[in-house]
C-alpha cells in the first residue's frame, strides 16, 4: 500500500443543496480497505445518517463491498482499480462499488449460517452486507453493487 488515496468531492449535479457526490479509485490491495472506508465515513460526520449507522453499518458494509471487489472481482490484480461512487441525498445514501472483473451470481452463494458452514472461515461477506444496509442491488453482469442506506 504505497499510493495515497484521492477522494473527489463535489456538490450533486441534480439533487438538493446539501446533497453531494464522492468518487474514489481504490487499488486492488486489501491494505487500502480500512483507509478508503475512513476517507468516505469522514464525510458523514453529520447529516443524513446517524453517527451509529455511520460507525457500524456504513463502515462494515463498505469494507465488505471493497474486499469482495478487490479479492473476487479484481483478483488482487494491481493493474485493476475498484471504483467507488457515493451519492448522498436527503433521503438516502447510495454507494456504488464497481470492479473490473467478470462478475458473479450472487444467488449462487450459499447461506453461511447453515450448520455445515458455520465453522468455515470465509463465505460470510455477502450475508453480512445484506444484513447491514437497506438494499443491495447487483448489476446484471455482477461486477457492480449498489448499497442503499436510507436516512436515519
Amino acid at each position: 500500500m504505497t499510493e495515497p488515496l484521492r477522494l473527489d468531492v463535489r456538490p450533486s449535479a441534480t439533487g438538493g443543496e446539501s446533497d453531494f457526490e464522492l468518487a474514489l479509485d481504490v487499488p486492488s490491495d486489501l491494505g487500502y480497505v480500512g483507509p478508503a472506508v475512513e476517507l468516505i465515513a469522514d464525510r458523514f460526520k453529520s447529516g443524513v445518517l446517524s453517527p451509529r449507522r455511520v460507525r457500524f453499518n456504513l463502515r462494515t458494509a463498505l469494507a465488505e463491498a471493497l474486499a469482495n471487489a478487490i479479492a473476487y472481482g479484481n483478483r488482487h490484480d494491481p493493474r485493476r482499480l475498484v471504483h467507488v461512487r457515493v451519492e448522498a441525498r436527503r433521503d438516502a445514501v447510495h454507494i456504488h462499488v464497481t470492479d473490473a472483473g467478470e462478475g458473479f451470481d450472487p444467488g449462487a452463494v450459499p447461506d453461511p449460517t447453515l450448520p455445515g458452514r458455520l465453522e468455515r472461515e470465509d463465505g460470510r461477506g455477502l450475508f453480512v452486507l445484506r444484513s447491514l444496509v437497506d438494499q443491495v442491488a447487483f448489476s446484471a453482469a455482477g461486477n457492480s453493487v449498489c448499497l442503499t442506506l436510507r436516512a436515519g
Partner: protein, 111 residues
C-alpha cells in the same frame, strides 16, 4: 488500529482490539494469537470494548483461531461487544459458536 496482548496472573491472554478487525489487519491479530499459542498460552479473551467495526474477514479469523485453540485443548472467549457487534454475531449465528461475556472481567472470571 492496534492489537495489545496482556497476560493475567493465571496466564490468560487478553487481546485488545483498538479500532477495527477487518480484512486489512486480521492476519496481524491472527499471527499474534498463534505466536502466543505456540508459546504455551491456552486461554484467550478477545476484548472488543474499543472496537468500532468487524467485517466478515474479522469474523472468519475468530472462527479459525477458536478452532486452532480448541485443538490445543484451550479456549477462546469474547467480551465487550457493543449492541451492533452483538447483533452481527447473532445474525451470523456465531453467537452459538463463541462464549460471549459482557466485559473482559466477566470473561476472565469464567475461566
Amino acid at each position: 488500529m492496534t492489537f495489545s496482548l496482556t497476560k493475567d496472573k493465571r496466564g490468560v491472554v487478553v487481546v485488545g482490539v483498538d479500532g477495527q478487525l477487518i480484512v486489512g489487519n486480521r492476519q496481524d491479530m491472527k499471527q499474534k494469537v498463534l505466536d502466543s499459542l505456540d508459546g504455551g498460552a491456552r486461554k484467550f479473551v478477545i476484548d472488543f470494548t474499543r472496537t468500532g467495526y468487524i467485517d466478515s474477514s474479522g469474523l472468519g479469523v475468530l472462527v479459525s483461531l477458536s478452532k486452532k485453540i480448541r485443538e490445543q485443548g484451550g479456549d477462546l472467549r469474547l467480551a465487550g461487544l457493543n449492541e451492533d457487534l452483538q447483533t452481527l454475531f447473532e445474525l451470523t449465528k456465531l453467537d452459538t459458536l463463541f462464549a460471549i461475556a459482557k466485559t473482559p472481567a466477566e470473561a476472565l472470571a469464567a475461566f
